[in-house]
């Protein structure tokens, strides 16, 4: 057991726990309203939104898994950088429209919007279910990030005893999310982000200094990747170009369809807050790029690992004094709490608004609605915990991969829906279904990998399965819309008007 690291770790953990419970009093609102509990009253300005979205999008799992990919495969792992570059111009253009229309009509979820735009309960249900399905494994994977650092500090017990630190951490998280809602992760995100910045900046300059400089690291990495089986590569090879580009683009388009990202957008106080953040959030992308390269440094440093997920924690232990490793581990573990809290709130909002209120208890009061969401946020977290403790880790990883493919299939309804209501609602439902089924099929056919080798006109083109599925989805939705229109089927009544998408407040 590494006592120094553990002590530092626990001190920071206690600090954010206290902070989480106190957040309920911050900009106090009536937490019996879903708008207050689940979106913090839509009052977050530029700075808080920056911390909140930064803490929300750059998760502990990202911090463990992306360098792990770099550690294992080389250049392919760097796709996270173009991915995060592509996100923000997209957010800048599209998300202010969603913010405006949601403010105008009181929408809390993307599913609320789709229901209002296309007047289709079925389509709204499809969007809600996709969101919940994609989010659940993502929450579970936050625990994997936390697990990696807890084990690095020397907890190796087996069975429930070994999982005890994880259970305690998650129980605390569940309680303050229940009591404080979105205000809790927002205040914790500030602490977490500062800690991550310190850790990564120190690591990015100190570790190369200890390893003999960047030139040496990349040269040594080149040899190390070539020696791997299967070999990786330090510079991307031409047969991977399309896979790299389509992974970056597909992931970028998918990110802001996830319920937890939308929660971050909808809780901000104005359109300009979102636009400003599209220019300011890339600061995190730079940190992510540095972090990704740590995976390569771990390879060069020759750290011993059981799984690639241990690469960065073990690199820290090998390079840093124990107290700083403890600080870095606390940063990663707290980094798991923020997105896990926001994701569970987002999933709870979806369930409550678009399943409970829509199908189970249409006449529920605001208070019942808020209470239901709080309870669901607890259930979601217990479910995620059980998932990680009782099922093999691969299940969660594979489901998260599938989740990325699935969530992109809501693109036509949500994103194109923000621009026009040309699509027929049933055509969108069927397009979604084709996208979901074909995407899942491709992922399984590829052996649960995200890149699928498409055979077309004698060429083989490995690319991101989510993008291929989205193309099919669009084709079906467009063709069927023409068919349905020709048959004289009418679109549902649109409750929004053009100006709703542009209003500034």
């Amino acid at each position: 057991m590494n006592w120094t690291a553990l002590t530092v770790f626990i001190i920071f953990f206690i600090f954010v726990t206290v902070l989480g419970f106190y957040s309920a009093r911050w900009r106090r609102g009536d937490l019996n309203q879903l708008n207050e509990w689940g979106l913090a009253g839509r009052r977050f300005g530029t700075v808080i939104t920056w911390f909140l979205l930064g803490g929300d999008l750059y998760t502990a799992y990202t911090f463990i898994a992306v360098p792990a990919l770099m550690f294992g495969a080389g250049a392919m792992g760097f796709f996270a950088v173009p991915y995060t570059i592509l996100i923000y111009p997209f957010v800048f253009v599209v998300m202010p429209r969603l913010w405006s229309v949601s403010r105008k009509h009181g929408y809390i979820t993307a599913s609320d919007f789709v229901r209002g735009r296309f007047n289709s309960r079925t389509l709204a249900l499809a969007v809600a279910i996709t969101g919940i399905l994609a989010t659940m494994p993502y929450i579970a994977l936050q625990l994997v990030g936390m697990q990696a650092v807890i084990q690095a500090m020397g907890f190796h017990g087996s069975g429930l005893v070994g999982e005890l630190p994880l259970i305690i951490a998650f129980a605390i998280l569940a309680l303050y999310t229940y009591s404080s809602g979105l205000r809790a992760p927002a205040s914790i995100a500030i602490v977490k982000d500062l800690m991550i910045y310190i850790t990564i900046l120190v690591a990015f300059f100190y570790i190369p200094y200890k390893l003999g400089g960047f030139g040496h690291i990349f040269d040594a990495a080149q040899e190390a990747y070539a020696a791997k089986n299967p070999p990786g590569s330090m510079i991307l090879t031409s047969q991977s170009f399309f896979a790299y580009g389509s992974l970056a683009l597909g992931s970028a388009l998918a990110l802001f369809l996830y319920p937890h990202s939308l929660t971050g957008v909808l809780s901000s106080s104005s359109r300009n807050t979102i636009k400003k953040n599209a220019a300011l959030l890339p600061a995190y992308s730079l940190v992510l790029a540095f972090l990704t390269l740590l995976g390569m440094m771990a390879l060069v440093a020759g750290v011993k690992v059981n799984s690639a997920n241990d690469a960065v924690p073990q690199l820290f232990l090998a390079m840093f004094p124990d107290w700083f490793s403890g600080f870095a581990f606390a940063a990663i573990a707290i980094g798991a709490l923020v997105p896990a809290a926001i994701m569970s709130i987002a999933a709870a909002n979806l369930f409550t608004r678009n399943i409970y209120k829509e199908y189970i208890n249409p006449n529920c009061t605001d208070q019942q609605e808020s209470k239901m969401a709080k309870l669901v946020s607890l259930v979601v977290k217990v479910g995620a915990l059980a998932f990680i403790i009782f099922l093999p880790l691969d299940y969660a990883i594979n489901l998260q991969l599938l989740g990325g493919i699935w969530i992109l299939q809501t693109f036509p309804a949500i994103i194109i829906g923000l621009y026009n209501n040309w699509f027929n609602r049933w055509a969108l439902v069927l397009g979604w279904l084709v996208g979901m089924v074909s995407g899942t099929y491709m992922a399984f056919a590829a052996g649960l990998k995200s890149t699928y080798a498409l055979h077309l006109f004698g060429f083989t083109l490995p690319g991101y399965a989510a993008i291929y599925a989205l193309v099919l989805n669009f084709v079906v939705a467009i063709v069927l819309t023409f068919v349905f229109k020709a048959l004289g089927m009418e679109n549902g009544k649109d409750e929004t008007v053009k100006e709703d998408y542009l209003t500034a407040s």
Partner: protein, 69 residues
């Protein structure tokens, strides 16, 4: 993808700046090289890292030029 406000039509061309990052980063054939290196970092890596602040800067310019009043 532009704001449907006739008075703003002119300023909408600023949005085209956002396409620059898209073109510069989506096709790795443009930058998957080892040389030239910068501080020992291969071109593949420093080019993509440099595109992060450049893209942020472009987004910032578009923000100031198209700001909602």
């Amino acid at each position: 993808m532009k704001e449907e406000n006739s008075q703003k039509k002119k300023s909408n061309y600023w949005y085209l700046l956002l396409l620059v990052s898209f073109i510069a980063i989506t096709w790795p054939g443009l930058y998957a090289f080892d040389e030239p290196r910068l501080f020992g970092i291969p071109f593949f890596y420093w080019y993509q890292m440099l595109m992060v602040p450049i893209s942020a800067l472009l987004t910032g310019i578009v923000y100031f030029k198209t700001k909602d009043e």
